[in-house]
């Protein structure tokens, strides 16, 4: 009975993790993707606990659920800023021509 509960729990987590991974990839908006990635990292961490790997889960929760998504968010904001700046610079000479 106990084994069956664990099996169901593990199976559910596996399916959920795979589904979240799909959601990460299919979220084309990079900002929203960072949030989904964080959720995915969290689920993967939980899955690792269920797979009897608590210390790996600890690393995954810090790195996969917090640090990497944070890096992604920072990268997006920097990229957006650069893209906007570049667009503005590209537009300016044209306006001067007018």
């Amino acid at each position: 009975m106990h084994g069956a509960i664990v099996d169901v729990l593990l199976g559910g987590l596996l399916v959920l993790t795979a589904a979240t991974a799909t959601a990460v990839v299919l979220t084309r908006n990079a900002g929203r993707q960072a949030i989904v990635l964080s959720a995915y990292g969290l689920l993967l961490g939980l899955l690792m606990v269920a797979l009897q790997a608590p210390d790996v889960a600890l690393a995954q929760l810090t790195v996969g659920a917090a640090v990497v998504p944070l890096l992604v968010v920072l990268a997006i904001s920097r990229c957006d800023r650069e893209v906007v700046r570049r667009r503005r610079r590209r537009r300016r000479p044209r306006e001067e021509q007018r």
Binding site: A30, L44, V68, A75, V83, R86
Partner: protein, 123 residues
């Protein structure tokens, strides 16, 4: 059937990450997809070492003879996570540089920008 489920999940995550990489129109998205591909290897490694009814390999409160899951793959996964995070960080830094220089992070647009600047290969 249940025993192969972790492998199926890992395989699915690997393939979906590759799909994301192949169809990506945004370099940040591509780097995240790559992180997803790498995460499939964590799951695969842990699945290899997992045994039903075995506990975590922490011998603080269990007797030495008790069934535990394989600790070696866990050590490997730990290394893999760190390596993966390093690669992601470096690639994101490069992406920021791309944005700075090209003003876009769409690979297709960068390609056409490069061709406009006269980077044609033809004779």
């Amino acid at each position: 059937m249940f025993a192969v489920l972790p492998y199926l999940a890992a395989g699915w995550i690997f393939l979906i990450g590759c799909y994301g990489l192949a169809t990506s129109r945004n370099l940040v998205h591509a780097v995240v997809s790559l992180a997803v591909v790498q995460s499939s290897t964590y799951l695969l490694l842990l699945a290899v070492g997992w045994k039903r009814d075995a506990t975590a390999p922490v011998f603080g409160d269990i007797s030495p003879g008790a069934p535990v899951v394989d600790p070696i793959v866990q050590a490997l996964t730990l290394t893999d996570i760190v390596v993966g995070a390093t690669v992601s960080a470096l690639l994101l830094a490069l992406t920021i540089q791309v944005a700075k220089r090209h003003g876009t992070i769409d690979p297709e647009e960068i390609r056409s920008l490069e061709q406009d600047s006269g980077d044609d290969d033809g004779q």
